[in-house]
């Protein structure tokens, strides 16, 4: 087997490069379920029945975690760890691509092939590490859970984790053969993971035994839940997982032995030989550079809006069943008031996410400067202000579109749930849009840093982290109001439900304008370039 020569050396190389990463990931993923087992083991039967009736049958929980197969402590733990196989799958496929296609694209595989390594050594090495690593993770989880829970169920949870890792490591191995570009391979592999997730969501969200439950069998992530840990384990499902793993591994090797080093099975996508007439200036270029980022964030905001809107009604339901909560919240306006304050706080969170997008978009400017592309562009007839303007368009208007989409989706979903779209939508959309002035303060802060302290432009993330901490934990930690006031989000009125005044908006917009002006004025005068 000369094609496997050097596999051992490459395994050592992989372990050497990623030892800390592997250690942290395995321990972190193994520790989470064990902690949960402690919590649920100490609950009474009545508490577990309560969990099964509420969280265990809530559509959002079912979508996120999968079905609840048993009302025992083990059954609840098995549901609550239901999202972990997704992460194991994601990490496994990224890991395999990182050590195959990324290496190949960087030319390092060619370097090694010229020395002692056979053509299959790289793929064999990384798959071996991935398979054994996932098995180790599974056994750690099983032994951790079996301290408190029945052994066979614990083993089923652990092997379910391992199986998810095996299947997506092997699928990652296939994806790595397909494109010349590691980014393309990642896209294919993550895309298929996402599609399998959606299939599982569709199967589970309607609760056990609904019309779409059979979809489970079309998704490897569904198979993992069909192992049914702690509920008469269906061990034979593991055979499906092993079969898929073997099939995908065989396919990866088959493609690998037929293609040239450096080539992909799918041809690299070509672009146009000439620019379209529209591609003629810095704004058109900025659109090309930002559109992928914008689309990604719009998808994220659609999902976020759907989740926030979907849960809002449940917040009301939760109170219906719980007399104590009802008493607490009747003081702040009853069920209506509760939903309103929930929406206001969710939209404030959405505002922070929009600010993250804005900062990321504005930082592209600094990235362009650091990799010298800005210099190349500015050596043409484009002025600095027009160049900055192109990127700023997306940093400032991108969040407008994103918040509008998020608010719209949340309003539609919640309105549909309440049977009153016309009544709910405007309030929720408005609650999303009022976040903008606070978002823009952080965009303008990024621009000011870019002009005044270009080397630490990324410190804008620190500003966002501060706003997040003050907004989410500030009151709980009893911070003084003057400290809370540092965050622009503190000044956004609580709508719907609260009083709306224009004054804070004027102030926030003024602060944003001053910061933006300082940034523009200084970035015109300073030295440009990577240094």
């Amino acid at each position: 087997m000369t094609s496997l020569k050097g596999t051992g050396k490459l395994i050592r190389l992989i372990l050497r490069r990623d030892r800390w990463l592997l250690l942290v990931v395995v321990l972190w993923l193994a520790a989470a379920p064990v902690g949960l087992a402690d919590t649920y083991q100490s609950q009474t039967a009545a508490e577990r029945a309560e969990y099964a009736r509420t969280s265990g049958s809530n559509p959002t929980f079912l979508a996120l975690y999968g079905p609840l197969h048993s009302e025992t402590a083990g059954g609840i733990v098995a549901q609550r760890v239901g999202a972990i196989p997704l992460f194991i799958g994601l990490i496994s496929l990224l890991f395999v691509i990182r050590h195959t296609r990324t290496e190949e694209q960087a030319g390092r595989r060619e370097l090694l092939s010229g020395t002692v390594c056979g053509r299959h050594a790289g793929l064999t090495a990384v798959l071996s590490v991935a398979f054994l690593g996932n098995l180790l993770l599974g056994l750690l989880v099983a032994s951790g859970l079996s301290q408190n829970l029945p052994g066979s169920g614990a083993l089923a949870v652990g092997l379910g984790f391992a199986a998810a890792g095996w299947m997506f490591a092997a699928l990652g191995g296939v994806a790595a053969q397909l494109t010349e570009n590691a980014g393309g391979a990642r896209g294919i592999a993550i895309g298929s993971l996402g599609a399998f997730l959606l299939i599982r969501l569709a199967a589970d969200t309607g609760g056990p035994g609904n019309d779409l439950s059979w979809l489970h069998w079309l998704s490897p992530l569904g198979w993992v839940t069909e192992l049914r840990p702690f509920a008469d384990e269906q061990w034979w499902v593991l055979l499906l997982a092993v079969a898929l793993t073997l099939l995908a591994t065989t396919l990866a090797f088959a493609v690998s032995s037929r293609r040239d080093i450096g080539a992909g099975l799918l041809p690299a996508r070509l672009g146009p030989a000439e620019a379209s007439p529209a591609l003629g200036g810095p704004l058109a270029l900025a659109w090309r550079l930002h559109r992928g980022l914008l689309m990604g964030w719009l998808i994220a905001f659609t999902v976020l809006g759907g989740v926030f809107g979907g849960i809002a009604e449940g917040v009301g339901d939760m109170m219906k069943d719980n007399k104590d909560l009802q008493n607490v919240f009747s003081r702040i306006g009853g069920q209506e008031g509760l939903i309103d304050s929930y929406i206001a706080s969710m939209m404030s969170l959405m505002g922070l996410v929009a600010a993250a997008y804005s900062i990321q978009a504005a930082l592209r400017m600094r990235a362009e400067e650091e990799n010298s592309r800005a210099e190349y562009l500015l050596a043409t007839g484009v002025s600095r202000l027009r160049w900055i303007g192109g990127h700023l368009t997306f940093a400032l208007l991108g969040p407008v579109v994103a918040l509008a989409v998020g608010g719209l989706v949340a309003g539609l979903v919640h309105g549909a749930n309440m049977g009153d779209v016309g009544g709910e939508l405007p309030g929720i959309l408005g609650a999303a849009m009022v976040q903008l002035p606070a978002v823009w303060v952080l965009s303008a802060l990024t621009l000011a840093l870019f002009g005044l302290l270009p080397r630490v432009t990324a410190a804008a993330w620190g500003g966002l982290a501060l706003c997040f901490t003050l907004g989410q934990f500030g009151r709980a930690l009893d911070f003084d109001q003057s400290v809370l006031d540092v965050s622009p989000f503190t000044h956004i009125p609580q709508v719907p439900g609260g009083d709306f005044t224009a004054e804070p908006f004027v102030w926030l917009l003024a602060v944003a304008a001053v910061l933006a002006f300082a940034g523009l004025a200084t970035s015109r005068r300073r030295d440009m370039g990577a240094a």
Binding site: E180, G271, E274, G280, Y376, S383
Partner: protein
Amino acid sequence: MTDAISVRGLVKDFGPTRALDGLDLSVATGEVHGFLGPNGAGKSTTIRVLLGMLRADKGEVTLLGGDPWAEATELHRRLAYVPGDVNLWPGLSGGEVIDLLGRMRGGLDKQRKNDLLQRFQLDPKKKARTYSKGNRQKVALVAALASDVELLVLDEPTSGLDPLMEEMFRQAVQEERRSGRTVLLSSHILSEVEALCDRVSIIREGRRVESGTLDEMRHLTRTSIDVTLEQEPSGLDALPGLHDVRVEDTRVRCEVDPDRLDDALRHFVALGVRNLISQPPTLEDLFLRHYEADGRRSGADAAADSGANAGAGR
């Protein structure tokens, strides 16, 4: 003839480091000017001041008759720049980059673009992320050479090209010269500068140490002589202006100062010459003399060097 580029006493500091220390540079309109120096000598810094990316701390800089800092945008429409390390936008195709840059300069000669694409064997449909270093450089070169501009600023433009493509590049620059454009070519590939440039400026540690035509510079530099005589040589020690003398039986190899060449030849002829090879100083020699000067400055060498430098200073 006016100067396309004129720099006098340019100083640029980066914190405590002085990158340019009173640099002078003049490039006449219509000439191909070689800008030579090792890494870190200040070539790229000078170019970035000329492009208005960096603000000069001291000194006068004029580019195409304007101030490169204050009038950057207007001046940039009249020039094209090729960076030494070309980074392109990964999602754009090569053809898109070329057209985009052309449109943001003064315009693009489509005929010339297609001609250059063919000569450089560049596929404009490929996405920039899939280009090698050499191909990215070709994209930048095609974009610059096909642009309708007066001045080309090329910062080590051939560092990623193979020899065949280097030859293509040389031909293209010769055509630029014939069509009357000014070229500033920064390089440390001496053969390239020798083949292309009308005049050369050599810089070192942020200062110009030498400038002129290659002929003028050669005049200041030693000729290397490899002579086989009819008898074993004698009296070489008494001859002034001879350096690095190596004697094997009747064969003598040495370097001769330009003003002592006549004396040396008379001496050899008197001894009887059987075979003589004489080589003009290459730019390489010239270059090395400036960069090695500090390292082996002693005795006669130092005297000769300071003489040469005084001459060059003019």
